[in-house]
């Protein structure tokens, strides 16, 4: 078993507790540079000095995604912009994205976590790594890129798109490890088969950004002949690298020196014990630019009780869903409220709409049925097509996702009394 940083990866509980308390205190102090936290901590009547053990964290206020959105753009930065060297964004619940910033120290810590993960799954400077995720504002691209370089891997920033070229590179460059969404990996496997290009050099597949089932693991491992590893993270917590499967494939190691983990009942906020499923709440312990206290991830998992033979710390179970209504479409987070926001801003659209999510040939497809506003029907088919294209473009601009908009007759969509159920996820449940 190889380690990137053996001392910290195998730290013993007593020592870990001390380190976590120290880092939690530092994090609270950093958070005090953010007006939002200043007020919240004042309200709660608590300061860094009141923390003497990690369980004291229950006295701190939660942070929700909505809070971050209200801080748009730089309201959650705890350091002057001068010290921020990178900005990423992630989809927000409505029109505006959530902005995350990084200091040089943050980028160093983040790439270190990725290097830990890659080393943990057996990758090294002997490997050729193709990173097939978005290299823009999405943290998966640059996050993995710098971590992989740090760990010494030969890194190919192939990003997304052009599946044929991706396959040719894997073949021609003898790529040994890939990172992408699990659904894209299945698509890739099928295209490679059609093109009759063997991908024999592959041995490791890292799959993240969307939840995937054990059945999908079997399929991925059979079709690509790789060992599949689950990767978890989110932009608010640097990005990918927060938790990762080790070769035991029995839960994900979450890096306790960097993230203080709680599992809560999403309805009541009450803490849950080991093996009890609930919402993952994380307080990052080393973030400088954007410290967060008790961040509600919305992801459902549980803390596992068993000791891992690899010698690293406590694991969390693979993720099974969300506590809110966020959808993950082709690895991209989508809030139904974003869709509603876009549709309501287009005058040709009448009030009602429905969203259907399907998986077609392993790829997620989002169909949005939209009622057009009566008064905008000119009688011309060409005008209807223009309206449809305009809606698709507006959605694409906000969601960064291609959608399939279907215009339907006014009055034909269901009307809801009380809470509307406008999103139907028809993908097979895990």
């Amino acid at each position: 078993m190889r380690y990137w940083d053996k001392a910290i990866e195998t730290i013993q509980p007593e020592e870990l507790e001390k380190l976590q308390v120290k880092r939690l205190q530092e994090t609270i102090k950093r958070a005090c540079h953010v007006p939002f936290y200043q007020h919240r901590l004042q309200e709660a009547g608590i300061s860094a000095d009141d923390i003497t053990k990690t369980s004291d964290i229950k006295n701190l206020p939660f942070t929700k995604k909505q809070d971050l959105r209200e801080g748009y753009p730089f309201g959650f930065f705890a350091v002057p912009l001068k010290e921020i060297v990178r900005i990423h964004t992630t989809s927000g619940t409505t029109g505006k994205p959530t902005v995350v910033g990084y200091t040089k120290g943050d980028l160093d810590n983040w790439s270190d976590l990725i290097a830990r993960n890659l080393t943990m799954i057996g990758l090294s400077d002997d490997d050729i790594f193709q990173n097939m995720v978005n290299y823009g504002m999405f943290t998966g691209g640059l996050g993995f890129h710098y971590g992989a370089e740090k760990a010494g891997l030969t890194t190919i920033p192939s990003a997304t798109g052009n599946t044929k070229r991706q396959i040719e590179m894997i073949h021609d460059f003898c790529v040994t490890a890939i990172h992408c969404t699990p659904s894209y990996a299945l698509h890739l496997a099928e295209v490679a088969e059609e093109l009759q290009i063997p991908l024999d050099s592959l041995k490791t597949g890292i799959f993240g950004a969307e939840p995937w089932s054990d059945q999908m693991r079997t399929e991925l491992e059979e079709k690509l002949r790789v060992t599949a590893f689950d990767s978890y993270g989110m932009s608010e917590l640097y990005g990918p690298g927060v938790a990762f499967e080790c070769p035991e494939h029995n839960g994900l190691h979450i890096w306790h020196d960097s993230f203080l983990v709680e599992i809560i009942d999403p309805a009541t906020g009450e803490p849950l014990g080991p093996n009890e499923r609930g919402e993952l709440v994380i307080t990052p312990l080393t973030k400088e630019a954007m410290p967060l206290l008790r961040y509600r991830t919305g992801d459902i998992t549980m803390l596992l009780d068993d000791v891992c033979p690899c010698g690293r710390g406590r694991k969390i179970a693979r993720f099974t869903g969300r506590s809110d209504d966020m959808l993950v479409i082709r690895g991209i987070n989508v809030f139904p409220s974003q869709i509603e926001h876009v549709l309501l801003s287009i005058p040709e659209v009448a009030g009602s709409y429905m969203v259907y999510v399907d998986r077609v040939n392993h790829m997620d497809e989002m169909i949005i049925e939209v009622e057009i506003n009566r008064q905008f029907f000119s009688g011309e088919l060409a005008d209807l097509k223009t309206i449809r294209e305009r809606i698709q473009r507006a959605l694409r601009d906000v969601l960064e996702l291609r959608t399939n908009v279907r215009l339907v007759e006014p009055g034909s969509l269901p009307r809801f009394e009380g809470k509307a159920k406008r999103v139907i996820d028809r993908r097979e449940k895990m």
Partner: protein
């Protein structure tokens, strides 16, 4: 104006492409005693526009709107064609010479005559050129 008398009001319906929509429209016409003189359907990825010329245009529009259809009037013209080889060519060429674009068109060929229904970009010019070339246009009341 003389030219305006040649404008024919087509009833255009927005319809999803799903079973029963055409039947619903046709049943409404049956109930109201409305006769269809010509019609066509244009389709685009799940939805379409049904275009009809009827004897009682206003009644058709009102009835369809009452049934919840999204309806609009569209001005078209109807040219009488020679019902023999070259009939369509003469008219199409006349419009081409005048640089008038046909947005869409449909036709019917009956016992006594063949009629080409046209939706064009410059309707008044189209009427002028068609009349000057010696063709006859059908007036709305002739559909009654």
């Amino acid at each position: 104006m003389e030219k305006e008398s040649y404008l024919i009001k087509q009833v255009s319906l927005f319809s999803e492409n799903k079973p029963g929509r055409l039947a619903t429209m046709a049943k409404a016409f049956l109930d109201e005693g409305i006769n269809i003189k010509a019609f066509s359907i244009a389709e685009a990825d799940g939805f379409g526009v049904i275009r009809v010329l009827v004897d009682k245009t206003r009644e058709a529009y009102d009835k369809l709107a009452e049934l919840g259809f999204n309806v609009a009037y569209t001005d078209v013209i109807a040219v009488i064609m020679r019902d023999e080889p070259g009939g369509l060519y003469e008219i199409a060429q006349t419009l081409a010479n005048a640089s008038i674009n046909i947005e869409y068109s449909y036709a019917y060929s009956g016992k006594d005559k063949a009629v080409l229904i046209l939706r064009v970009d410059h309707v008044e010019e189209a009427i002028e050129h068609i009349l000057n070339a010696g063709f006859n246009l059908v007036r709305q009341q002739e559909f009654l």
